[in-house]
Symmetry: C3
Subunit: 107 residues, 3 copies
């Protein structure tokens, strides 16, 4: 079965999310990126409990490309320590998994 | 432990997402469907980088029903190759996992 | 590698989601909580197919704290049987995984 990975990434807002998402697809580091434009977060930062409005990217790519995609996000992201979590995919609609592979030619 | 699966599905918009979601629950192929009405996606389609507004369904069902739910989505979906990804669930609130089983009687 | 877990939780609306999210972070049961304020759900409840507007929390914590976080959510939640699903994380940006550990000192 084609091994696919989802990357869950947060961004400072919809504009940054779209900029990162388009870039990953353009560079064929992802077949598709889904952006959720409205998210509120709570977190500790330098000893204070903060809350802010952010956006989320869900990046669909080959498992073998997850690290390269992650490094590219870190390179371009406005945060010093961006949230990038890898969520495993157990399976899916076979033609869609094939499509992810077709759109992300191996390096 | 009860084995549960999440299906991550994209749709052309909130109306299609609700139609598919209601149908899956009605047919007891899912105990519950959560719909995120606003999502922007970037992807390659026929050699062009496209972006469009979509909606997302998160389908909660028994692991053993994931394939049947997937086939029903493909049957009804407006896309020729819909995004359906299976996200494994490691655990959860036991009574809720039981509830998912109670609402999706085995075939 | 640092073992991290995502908890997917639904709530009656953005206010409850924020109350629960802030509380988990305050108590250091989570390093960060992302809230999606708008979600529509379909589900069976007492023999009737219901639909309602809800909100979603995505709780980022250590794997070893998932159970304690889950119990605290159940204790405070307005539902009698809240949806709390544990989604495994396969990896991620190493400094971010370290940050999750740093913000959730072990009990």
């Amino acid at each position: 079965m084609r091994e696919v990975m989802l990357l869950y990434v947060t961004a400072s807002g919809p504009e940054e999310a779209k900029r990162l998402g388009r870039h990953l697809v353009e560079r064929r580091l992802a077949a598709c990126v889904n952006i959720f434009p409205e998210m509120h977060s709570f977190y500790w930062w330098e000893g204070k409990l903060e809350s802010s409005r952010e956006a989320v990217l869900l990046v669909k790519t080959r498992k073998e490309l997850a690290e390269a995609a992650r490094e590219e996000i870190v390179r371009l992201h406005s945060y010093s320590c961006p949230c990038i979590l890898e969520i495993p995919v157990a399976g899916g609609h076979p033609p869609f998994l094939e499509w992810i592979y077709a759109e992300t030619p191996s390096r």
